[in-house]
Amino acid sequence: MTVLLWAVGLILAGGGGVLLLRRAPRLGERLYGALLVGGGVVGLWPTLAVLRGGPTLRVTLPGSLPGGAWVFGVDPLSAWFLLAVLGVGACAGVFGLGYLAPERGHRPVAAAHALFALLLVALVGVVTAQAMVPFLAAWEVMALSAYLLIMFESEQAAVRRAGFIYIVLTHLSTLALVAMFAALSVHAEGQSFAALAAGNQTPGAVRTLGLVLALAGFGLKAGVVPLHFWLPGAHAAAPSHVSAVLSGVMLKMGIYGLLRVLSLLGAPPPWFGWTLFGLGLGSGVLGVLWALGQHDLKRLLAYHSVENIGIILLGLGVGLLGLAYGQPLVAVLGLTGALLHTLNHALFKSLLFLGAGAVLRATGTRVIDQLGGLGRALPWTALAFGVGSVAIVGLPPLNGFLSEWVIFRGLFVAGGSREVIRFAVMGAAGLGLIGALALACFAKVAGVVFLGNPRSPADASLSPGDPPPNMLAPMLVLAGVCAGIGLMPSLILGPARMVAVSIAPAIDGGAVSAEWGGAAARISAFGLGLVALVGLVLLLRRSLRQGRVAQVAATWGCAMAVPTPRMQYTASSYAAPLLAAFGPLAGIRRHREATAFHSHPVDPVQDVVVVPVWHELERVSLRLRRIQGGRVRWYILSLIFTLLSLLFYLTNSRFAP
């Protein structure tokens, strides 16, 4: 644990250093980058030790702090999420150095780096806290430092609006969590998680309330439909390296929280598993569908986070249903799949956000339909983005396929057992639909942004090159890890299963380990074979050329003499038939005029439900203003009334404390 504290110290020192040295930004940022990477590497050391089956770590902060002892610790579950926090955090932080460099003169870059370091430390705090108060404290620091980072470009109205929605909803989430901890501590003797676990082993009203509040609070943070609507705006507004951490890591704190509460409360009832399963299916399908209609690259990626949170929840639901129905193998596969997808999504989603940041820096726009042909100008960025796209779609041989494979096996492994057959059918169809829609969406993004011809003249004249090494290296590292996990799944499957078993100790780990057998090795061979075969066919193809030089000509335009870049299919027209098949669910508004056609995406939750309801509420509550008329006697009257009711309440023997 000391090592981890050292890592936290290094990251904080980096943040402090860049602030102190803000007069010498080059030196300060170099120091910050070095300390951040150093902190990440140092912190991964104890994390990997725990995941390899080492003893769990524990430390109690000295001194007298509010809310009982401040216990921090690293058990397998914490360690799993620490991997994402430290690994993705360090990569995104380094990317941020190059990404924010052009802003140095006119925006508080040093403060943004310091806040980023603080955000990372808060994330470490959230996943290692082992008591209520330190958990909530870290949670708030995380939420607030993220808010300040989202507001980095606060001169834009869209950013301020996104920040406002974010800060309101993140506090709703905190409120639900405070209520949840209050409910769970009714039967507990103390503030630590261990005490909560000891006090809540028997099912009852309190436990049910705790589960519902946990779902609301953590679900808000994770961005589960219909609580997702704060997410696309906030993640699009933040600087890209911050978006990478928000989408890749901070959303996962919702998943972490759910898993932590479940590990404290033991196996939940079946309705909870079904709820998670249903929410997961809904978030997955709707998230990807809404992503397809987006015109803004970063908003599109943010909606994909909603989709992937859906896949994670679906796996989690399968795991919990396996627990509830006494199917240990289903439970292990579902939970392992959810955990794997959490880590995988952290990797490829942050990679994609970094890629979007590189595109934004090179071209100055996030509007997909104004981009095109960037693969020539930014070949390495295009390669990294391509790897991320294949990974997120869940195609072999990358890591996204691995987690979907595990979840699918969870769906099917119980065979014909009757309770399980329902989710096998729904899950198979749902995951199939999600996968195919994600493929459509990422073919659109990768194809429209990086391939073809530039769509706007501005874009062609910029003639950018790949970003500087401090932006490129983090992307390539993340892409390499995605490929590594996909090709060498045995490295990661074992630890993931260990974490899954640590969440649900009811599962007999030994009994299920036999089932894995050589599947991991076979997937390795399968992935490597695929890559090798592509190489082989490439060689064959070369030999068929027999020294001839390929002819080069214009694209065949079906007898159209002068094709122009403006004739290219746009992202909107590409997505139109697919979205049309889903009707109003797709959240697209179309405007047709005599010579023009516009379509713009709306969020069916935010724009159709939340905002109108909010305006109505505002109208009603404005009427209450009369109470605040400035007349002292009304204030005194209400004061006396409150005091009297309190007196009656406290003296009534039934409620006496």
């Binding site: 294949v390 072999p396 699918f408 096996r409 198979a428 995951l431 195919a436 459509a440 080069v552 038939p577």
Partner: protein
């Protein structure tokens, strides 16, 4: 390990190009024409392999990789199926996900190659291809789910091989429905009527043909061969779902497979000559119907 899986793989690889020929010939016969020779695709492939290529100025290496990745993913998918009726050359628990994933990878590669040309025609084809596959993939997975639930086996080799033979008599009605669903998916996945028409001659009405408009020479050959192989693989899926080939001696199993493939190809031709292509916005309904058939098969399993 015997040579069975390897030999049957080679057999399927060798006969795959006949199948589109049979389909076309059947269609010609039923509409009163003579039609192209059954072996026409072999000649086309041989010719294309000798030719040089033309690349568009707009394209990047993605365009060149597209056909290769597409072909390789279909080849690897072939190794997951129990072509000899018993075992696959390469299979593992849960490899049905790998099968659909590989088909997805091939499609992803071709769609990107299409978008790489910057042509609006190929963009249109890409858009239609992904629209169709968005509905085909759930239906395919549901069809395979029926086989999983009927046999209790998670590898394609098991659920189409020995486990299927064991469960065959008990679950035949469900298996027939699943095979029907898989056949409908096959028509969509291999770009056949009523989803797409390989014989159409107008770019605006094409789906698959228009994505590959710019490919030429050996790369076009790879795509054409891959498409024929894909039809063969779906044929294997459908035939294996209803014929318990694991019960037959190996020679008979191979014959049953070949016979089945010929019948499937002929059935494709019959469908093509007996019905018109669906309007594009009706295609999702066709594929949802395939999914519904599969769900119905699951319900039959629960009796």
């Amino acid at each position: 390990m015997t040579l069975g899986p390897l030999l049957s793989l080679l057999l399927v690889l060798a006969v795959a190009p006949v199948l589109p020929g049979i389909a076309t010939r059947t269609r010609a016969f039923l509409t009163g024409r003579r039609g192209a020779p059954v072996l026409q695709l072999y000649r086309d492939l041989a010719k294309l392999l000798r030719k040089n290529v033309i690349y568009s100025r707009t394209t990047t290496p993605v365009f060149r990789l597209g056909p290769i990745v597409s072909l390789v993913s279909i080849l690897v998918a072939a190794t997951l199926l129990p072509l000899d009726g018993h075992t696959a050359l390469f299979g593992f628990s849960g490899d049905l996900v790998a099968f659909t994933g590989l088909l997805g990878l091939g499609r992803f590669a071709l769609v990107l190659a299409g978008l790489d040309t910057g042509s609006s025609f190929e963009g249109m084809g890409a858009s239609r291809e992904v629209t169709v596959s968005a509905f085909a993939e759930p239906a395919l997975l549901l069809g395979l789910t029926v086989l999983v639930l009927a046999t209790g086996e998670l590898s394609l080799a098991g659920m189409l091989g020995e486990q299927l033979a064991a469960a065959w008599a008990r679950t035949l009605p469900s298996l027939v429905l699943a095979a029907a669903a898989l056949f409908m998916v096959a028509l969509a996945e291999t770009s056949r009527v009523p989803v797409d028409d390989p014989a159409t001659h107008l770019e605006l009405t094409m789906i698959h043909e228009v994505i590959i408009l710019d490919h030429s020479g050996p790369e076009l050959a790879m795509i054409l061969y891959g498409q024929a192989l894909k039809l063969a693989l779906f044929g294997v899926l459908v035939v294996s779902a209803v014929v318990p080939r694991a019960l037959l001696p190996s020679g008979m199993a191979a014959l049953a497979l070949l016979g089945g493939l010929v019948l499937i190809a002929a059935a494709v031709g019959v469908v093509e000559s007996s019905m018109a292509r669906l309007r594009l916005n009706r295609v999702p309904q066709f594929l949802v119907a395939a999914g519904a058939l599969a769900v119905f098969a699951v319900i039959l399993l629960l009796r």
